[in-house]
C-alpha cells in the first residue's frame, strides 16, 4: 500500500470514530440518567437540607430536562470539563489524569508480558505439535481463559505474600506512601530510574510483579492459542513448503514467512484481549489496592459518584477505540489485500 493512500485510509478511519464515539457518549450519559431516583438524592445523606440539594442539582444541571443536560454535558466536555466528582470534589478529568499513569503502567507491562510469553509459546507449540511444549501451551491457554482474574490474584497474593512473604501485599504501587511531586513519565519504574532512586525502583518492580502476572496470565491465554492455531496453519501452507524446499533456514522460514502471514490474526486477538484487560484491570486493581482508574471507578460505583462513573467509562472506551484504530491501520499497512 502506498504511503499516501495509507494516510488517507488512516484519516478516514479516524473520522469514522467520531460518530461511534458520540453515540457511545450518549449511551453512557443515558445509562447514568436512567438510575432510579435523582443522583444527588442518592449520594446525599439524610442530613443534607432541601435547599442544598436543590443547589447541588442546579450545579449538576439535574434540574433541567434530559436533552438540555446532554447538551450542557457536551459543551462542558468540549472545554475539557467532566463535572465535579462527589467524592474528590475536583473535576473528574483531573481525577482521571492523576490516576491514569498507574493504570497505564500496569496494563502496559502486563500486555508486554503476555505477548512476550504467548508468541514464543504459540510458535513453538505450532512447530512441535503434540510435544510437551504444545501440551504446556494448550494447558496455559485453557486455564487462562477459565480462571476468574480476581480469584487468581487472591491466590497469588496468598502464596507469595501471606504464605511465603516474598512479595509485597495489596498495598498499591510501592508498598509505602512514597510519591513523586512531579512525575516525569508517570511510569514509577522509569521515573525512579531517571531520578537515580534505585531503592524506589526495586520497590516499584516488586509491587508490579503480582498484579502484572495476574493480568498478563489471563491476557496471555487467547494470544497463545491464536498464535498456535494460525502458525500451525501457516506452517502447512504451500509458500512455507516452497521456501523450505528452496533451502532457506528453518528459522528464516518460521519468522520471516510464516509469522509475517500469521501476524494479522495475532494482532487482532491482541487488540481484543486489550479490551478484556481494560475490564479485568478493574478487578486486579481492587485486589491489589492499585491506585489507578479501576480502583477509582470501583469507589465511584460504590458511592454512586455518577460524573466519575461517566468519565471513567468514557475514557476507557476512548482508549479501547484508539487501540482498534491502531489495529485497523496496522492491518491495512501489513496486508496488501485489504481494500480501503
Amino acid at each position: 500500500m502506498g504511503s499516501t493512500r495509507l494516510l488517507l485510509y488512516a484519516a478516514r478511519r479516524i473520522l469514522l470514530i467520531v460518530p461511534v464515539l458520540l453515540v457511545a457518549l450518549f449511551l453512557t450519559f443515558a445509562l447514568t440518567r436512567i438510575v432510579p431516583g435523582n443522583p444527588v438524592d442518592r449520594v446525599a445523606g439524610p442530613y443534607i437540607s432541601l435547599e442544598r440539594r436543590a443547589e447541588l442539582k442546579h450545579i449538576a444541571y439535574l434540574d433541567r430536562p434530559f436533552y438540555e443536560q446532554f447538551a450542557l454535558y457536551l459543551r462542558d466536555l468540549s472545554q475539557g470539563k467532566m463535572g465535579t466528582s462527589y467524592t474528590t470534589a475536583q473535576d473528574v478529568s483531573k481525577d482521571l489524569r492523576q490516576r491514569f499513569p498507574a493504570t497505564f503502567e500496569l496494563v502496559t507491562y502486563a500486555m508486554l508480558f503476555a505477548v512476550a510469553v504467548a508468541l514464543p509459546l504459540g510458535i513453538s507449540a505450532a512447530i512441535k505439535k503434540d510435544s510437551w511444549i504444545d501440551s504446556i501451551a494448550r494447558a496455559v491457554s485453557v486455564l487462562g481463559v477459565s480462571m476468574p482474574i480476581f480469584w487468581l490474584g487472591l491466590m497469588l497474593l496468598y502464596v507469595f505474600f501471606y504464605f511465603l512473604g516474598w512479595l509485597p501485599g495489596p498495598v498499591g504501587r510501592t508498598g509505602s506512601a512514597i510519591r513523586f511531586a512531579e512525575p516525569i513519565t508517570g511510569f514509577l519504574t522509569i521515573d525512579a530510574l531517571l531520578k537515580g532512586d534505585f531503592d524506589l525502583f526495586l520497590k516499584a518492580v516488586q509491587a508490579l510483579i503480582l498484579p502484572c502476572f495476574t493480568l498478563g496470565f489471563v491476557a496471555m491465554a487467547p494470544i497463545a492459542r491464536m498464535t498456535r492455531a494460525v502458525m500451525a496453519e501457516a506452517l502447512q501452507s504451500d509458500y512455507v513448503r516452497t521456501a523450505r524446499s528452496l533451502g532457506l533456514p528453518f528459522r528464516v522460514v518460521v519468522l520471516r514467512h510464516a509469522l509475517k502471514n500469521a501476524l494479522i490474526p495475532i494482532l487482532t486477538i491482541t487488540a481484543a484481549v486489550y479490551g478484556y484487560a481494560l475490564g479485568g484491570e478493574v478487578l486486579v486493581e481492587i485486589i491489589f489496592a492499585w491506585p489507578g482508574l479501576g480502583q477509582y471507578s470501583y469507589n465511584a460505583l460504590l458511592s454512586s459518584d455518577f460524573p466519575a462513573i461517566q468519565g471513567f467509562v468514557l475514557l476507557v472506551t476512548f482508549v479501547y477505540m484508539v487501540i482498534y484504530l491502531a489495529l485497523d491501520i496496522a492491518t491495512a499497512a501489513l496486508d496488501p489485500r485489504v481494500k480501503y
Binding site: 432510579p36 486455564l143 480469584w151 487472591l154 496468598y158 501471606y162 475490564g279 471513567f312
Partner: protein, 302 residues
C-alpha cells in the same frame, strides 16, 4: 407432516454452507471417544447441571445456617471446605450456588442469543437499511470494553439477579449478531435457498424454515463458549458488589467474602468458590471447543 416432506424433497435440501451433521446418538458417542478433552468438558458440565438440580437435596447443611461458634473454621471432616465468617458450610454453599449461577448464565446467554440471532438474521437477510442500522448499533455496543460496559449497566440497574442477567446479556449480543449475519449472508446464496424460493416459499418462511436452521451449528458452539465467559463476568459483577449481594450463596459473592478475611489468612473462604468457577468455565470451554470439532465435518473423526 406434509410440510416436512416438502422440505426434504426441495432440491439440495441437504446442501448448506456448513452442512449440518445430523448426529445420531451413537455417532456422537463415537466422536466423544476420540476426544477425551471434550468428554471431560461434557462430564464437568453434567456435574454442574446435576449439582444445580440436586444441590439442595445433596447438601449436608443449610447454606444459610448461621453458626457464629463455627465462624471461619478451616477445612475439616465436618466441613471439608471449611466455613465462612458466619459459620456457613462452604461446601454446601459452593454446591447450592451452582443453581443460581447456572440460572443467571443460561438466562443471559439465552436472551442474548435470541436477540443477537434475530438482529443478525434480519441484517443478513434483508440487507441494506436493516443491515446498516443494526450493524452500526452493534459497533457502538462493541466500542465499550465488555466488562466495563457490564459494570455501567449493572450499576444503573442496581444490584440483583435480573441485573446480572441483563448486564451480561447486553455484552454478548454483538457477538451473536455478527456471527449470524455472516452465516446468513453465505447461506442465503446457496442453491437450496434458491430452490426454496423457486417452489414458492414466502420470504418469512424461507428465513424461518430453511435458512435459520442451517445456521444453528455455529450458534450452538458460540453459546457454549459464551457460557464460560458469562460465568466469569457474572461472578465478577457480584464480586464487586454490583450483582448478587452478600448473604446469597453465589460463587463471586463468596470470593468477595473471602477478600474481607484475606489478612486473617482464611484462604478456604475464597479458594473453593473460585475453584468451582474455574471448573465450570473449564467445562464449558472444553465442551465448546470439542463441539466445534465434532460438528465441523472437516475436523470430525471418520
Amino acid at each position: 407432516m406434509a410440510v416436512e416432506e416438502r422440505n426434504l424433497i426441495a432440491p439440495g435440501a441437504g446442501l448448506t454452507a456448513a452442512p449440518p451433521v445430523v448426529g445420531r446418538f451413537s455417532d456422537f458417542v463415537y466422536q466423544l471417544r476420540g476426544n477425551p478433552a471434550t468428554f471431560a468438558g461434557l462430564f464437568i458440565v453434567v456435574v454442574i447441571v446435576l449439582s444445580a438440580l440436586l444441590g439442595p437435596v445433596l447438601a449436608r447443611y443449610d447454606p444459610y445456617a448461621v453458626d457464629l461458634g463455627q465462624s471461619a473454621v478451616g477445612p475439616s471432616l465436618a466441613h471439608p471446605f471449611g466455613t465462612d465468617q458466619y459459620g456457613e458450610d462452604i461446601l454446601t454453599r459452593v454446591v447450592v450456588a451452582a443453581r443460581l449461577d447456572l440460572f443467571m448464565v443460561l438466562s443471559a446467554v439465552g436472551a442474548s442469543m435470541l436477540i443477537g440471532v434475530a438482529l443478525g438474521a434480519l441484517a443478513g437477510f434483508f440487507g441494506r437499511f436493516f443491515d446498516e442500522g443494526i450493524m452500526r448499533s452493534q459497533d457502538v455496543l462493541q466500542a465499550f470494553p465488555r466488562f466495563v460496559f457490564a459494570m455501567a449497566v449493572a450499576w444503573a440497574l442496581g444490584p440483583g439477579i435480573v441485573t446480572v442477567i441483563v448486564a451480561t446479556a447486553a455484552i454478548n449480543i454483538p457477538g451473536y449478531a455478527r456471527l449470524m449475519r455472516s452465516l446468513m449472508l453465505s447461506v442465503k446464496e446457496t442453491q437450496f435457498a434458491l430452490a426454496a424460493v423457486a417452489v414458492g416459499n414466502s420470504r418469512w418462511r424461507l428465513l424461518w424454515r430453511h435458512l435459520l436452521p442451517n445456521c444453528l451449528t455455529p450458534i450452538i458452539v458460540l453459546s457454549t463458549l459464551q457460557c464460560g465467559f458469562t460465568i466469569l463476568e457474572a461472578a465478577g459483577l457480584s464480586f464487586i458488589g454490583l450483582g448478587v449481594r452478600v448473604p446469597q450463596a453465589e460463587w463471586g459473592v463468596m470470593i468477595a467474602m473471602g477478600l474481607q478475611d484475606f489478612l486473617q489468612g482464611h484462604w478456604w473462604i475464597y479458594t473453593f468458590p473460585g475453584l468451582a468457577i474455574a471448573f465450570a468455565v473449564l467445562g464449558f470451554n472444553l465442551l465448546g471447543d470439542g463441539l466445534q470439532d465434532i460438528l465441523d465435518p472437516k475436523r470430525r473423526r471418520v
